[in-house]
């Protein structure tokens, strides 16, 4: 069986474990970034944003567009952050503010609609060619070329880490961050205490879009993008956030990294065919396990 011989490779040449691990962590950092944004809007505003992946792809196209016009795509990260911030603000002011406080499907479907519009507009604007923003970096090779680290992936990892650290510090220390956390805990109480929750929601949603945009700019540099790729990133984000629990921000980052690693090992051992099935399979598993814990908990309470 191929599976057994694949496992055998990993045992006999442990260096490939390292290769997969590094690759997985580097990719996972970008997943974690997009998922972090989702966890924010989900946790704070109870909006399940299915357009998450399309924000990512939008950011990707911004970086690519800059690259095509002679500007280094790394600048795409802040530019995409800013543009998507404004875009997120616009979407919030026109659409999202009406779906907060509504039931689950309202936000899910409204953002699904937004996702369709974005992906098709990107297709009309930039054609459906698969694109990549060429950042022009080399790779480093270790262990006789067996382990390769693309510099651009490491840069992406660092960017993601800086961005995440920045956001977390902001949430901890700034006035707005405190307001956001207060609103997430109890929106009504926050309102009573004089927090303008509408402003908080608007800020949170824009921040999420901006984070996605930055993640997308990184994706465009380390992978390839296409207008219709968004949905896979949305699903990934949902898997990560659901697996970690949306109140648990450090958990989201850990789950994002874990997912990157899991995809790599799964693809290596079982074959790329199952790379996506593993992810969703894991999601279902996590949900079921959590459910069993809960029901045990319920029985104990009874």
């Amino acid at each position: 069986m191929q599976i057994l011989s694949n496992i055998n490779i990993l045992i006999e040449a442990p260096v490939f474990n390292l290769a997969l691990l590094i690759e997985g962590l580097l990719i996972g950092s970008v997943f974690a970034l997009a998922a972090y944004g989702l966890a924010l809007v989900w946790g704070v505003m109870n909006v399940k944003n299915l357009a998450q992946g399309d924000f990512v792809i939008m950011g990707g196209y911004i970086a690519w567009y800059l690259g095509e016009h002679g500007i280094h795509p790394l600048f795409g990260v802040p530019v995409a952050f800013l543009i998507l911030w404004c875009f997120g603000w616009l979407i919030y002011r026109t659409i999202i503010y009406r779906v907060i406080d509504k039931d689950l499907f309202t936000s899910l479907l409204a953002t699904f609609g937004i996702a369709l519009v974005i992906s098709q507009l990107l297709n009309l604007l930039f054609s459906s060619d698969t694109q990549t923003a060429d950042a022009g970096f080399e790779s480093w090779f270790f262990f006789d070329g067996m382990v390769s680290i693309a510099q651009v992936k490491l840069i992406a990892f660092v960017c993601a880490a800086l961005l995440a650290a920045g956001v977390i510090t902001f949430m901890k220390n700034s006035r707005m961050g405190q307001a956001i956390r207060a609103t997430a805990q109890d929106a009504r109480a926050a309102k009573v205490l004089g927090i303008d929750t509408d402003k908080v929601y608007c800020f949170t949603f824009s921040l999420n879009a901006a984070i996605c945009g930055a993640a997308g700019a990184l994706i465009a540099m380390i992978w390839v993008i296409q207008p219709f790729y968004g949905i896979t990133f949305s699903i990934r984000s949902f898997v990560i956030v659901t697996a970690a629990g949306f109140g648990n921000l450090p958990g989201v980052i850990a789950a994002g990294l874990g997912m990157g690693v899991l995809e790599q090992f799964g693809g290596f051992i079982l074959g790329a065919t199952f790379q996506q099935a593993i992810v969703v399979g894991l999601l279902v598993l996590v949900l079921v396990v959590r459910q069993m814990q809960q029901s045990r908990h319920r029985q104990v309470v009874q």
Binding site: F16, N123, T130, G145, W223, F228, T232, G271, A272, Q276
Partner: protein, 411 residues
């Protein structure tokens, strides 16, 4: 968003232009063909290549006086629908074209999967269809009588790459059976059929397949598979996954410095790998249905090279790219259709079908002569290699202009 308005305006303007020009010479009647093609979704890159090919052919034919059928003349026009790259939609749209738009003749969609969904429909209504971009062999074992394909079937795509690998092994004093093959094929009808051809050929030489990964259709990352390639050091790496697969593979092969001496992948031209990943793509072997350097000729389009030149002049989007063969064969499909209509001398579907079946003509795209099952048997696949950023024909030897460079000289 300002940019966006500009685009919209440009689109509106160009639509208006097209409308104006088609009204300009209305001496001939209009003959409407139908086609459901992927304008959105996974296959839209190549769907649009094919659509451009159709449009280019029609413009050329119409400018040359249209199609003579009996004593009448017709201008060709195509009604398109977007099949969203999904077979279920494609089948419904074929029904719609036939039943509502009363289309009498059809041009094929992009990809084997879509063709597989549409062919049963055209077949049951006895609508002649010439398809240009559905190469899976499973299309030609269903006994279809009204479907014709101008292209070579998919098992031939990588056959010459395997033959070349065997030859090289022999010249180095190794047995061909010592060759290890790694395969990564997308999980879709076309690529799986290419894969089936590779498996058969590998068996013939008793080569060993060490990796056999099927890539999910949404996958944008192949690094797990490529890490396996590093571990197992195959002599030949084969990849097929439409444009997206080719782009992803080229990018990551460069990034991870995969040093396999021979790498063959499909859709190099459509994905523009030489433009986007020039360093990594050096030395790739790319099977193609058509190459602009081949010596095919016909009265309308002239030589293959002339077709190449005219397309680049007419469509600025292709100026810096190698014309993908998907586009050339779409053009050839329309050309064959118009020729068959003339030969049939009537718009009777049965007569047109018979005329299509009797086709035996040279085109800029290669000779076209249909097998009973509908596939073109008069034209070979050629294998090109990217050498110094240019595509050069390296196999089969009859058409080869360059020797195959081995091992691949990745920069």
């Amino acid at each position: 968003m300002r940019h966006f308005t500009k685009w919209t305006l440009a689109t509106v303007a160009s639509v208006a232009l097209v409308a104006a020009s088609s009204n300009a010479n209305a001496a001939c009647e209009e003959l409407v063909l139908g086609s459901a093609i992927s304008l959105t979704g996974k296959y839209s890159t190549n769907g649009i290549h094919a659509q451009n090919g159709y449009e280019f052919a029609m413009k050329k034919i119409n400018d040359a006086g249209g199609v003579k059928v009996g004593d009448k003349c017709y201008k060709l026009k195509v009604t398109y629908y977007d099949d969203e790259s999904t077979p279920a939609r494609g089948a419904q749209l074929a029904e719609r074209l036939i039943n509502q738009d009363k289309v009498q003749f059809m041009l094929g969609p992009y990809s084997s999967g879509l063709t597989k969904a549409i062919a049963p429909v055209t077949e049951k209504y006895k609508i002649p269809m010439v398809e240009a971009v559905g190469a899976s062999r499973s299309l030609f074992n269903k006994g279809y009588k009204y479907m014709f394909a101008v292209l070579s079937t998919s098992e031939q795509y990588l056959a010459s790459a395997i033959a070349a690998a065997a030859e090289i092994a022999k010249s180095q004093g190794r047995e061909p059976s010592s060759i290890k093959i790694a395969m990564a094929f997308e999980n879709d009808p076309f690529s799986l059929d290419v894969r089936a051809g590779v498996v058969e050929d590998a068996k013939k030489y008793a080569m060993k397949i060490v990796i056999d990964d099927k890539l999910p259709r949404d996958l944008s990352d192949m690094s797990a598979t490529l890490t396996k390639v590093k571990a197992l050091k195959p002599d030949l790496l084969m990849i097929s996954g439409h444009s997206k697969g080719a782009a992803t593979a080229a990018r990551q092969i460069g990034e991870m410095k995969i040093s396999v001496p021979m790498i063959a992948l499909t859709h190099c031209e459509a994905a523009n790998v030489t433009g986007k990943f020039p360093a990594a793509a050096e030395g790739f072997l790319c099977p193609t249905q058509w190459a602009e350097t081949l010596t095919y000729k016909d009265p309308l389009f002239g030589s293959a090279a002339n077709y190449n030149k005219e397309v680049k002049a007419a469509l600025p989007a292709y100026k810096d790219k190698t014309i993908p063969y998907q586009m050339a064969q779409a053009t050839a499909a329309v050309y064959v259709f118009s020729d068959a209509l003339t030969r049939a001398g009537s718009l009777d579907r049965k007569k047109v079908r018979d005329a299509l079946a009797a086709t035996d003509m040279p085109t800029f795209y290669g000779h076209v002569k249909f097998h009973e099952a509908g596939n073109n048997i008069a034209k070979p696949m050629v294998l090109r290699q990217i050498q110094d950023g240019k595509y050069v024909v390296v196999a089969p030897s009859k058409y080869a202009s360059h020797k195959i460079a081995w091992p691949r000289m990745a920069k």
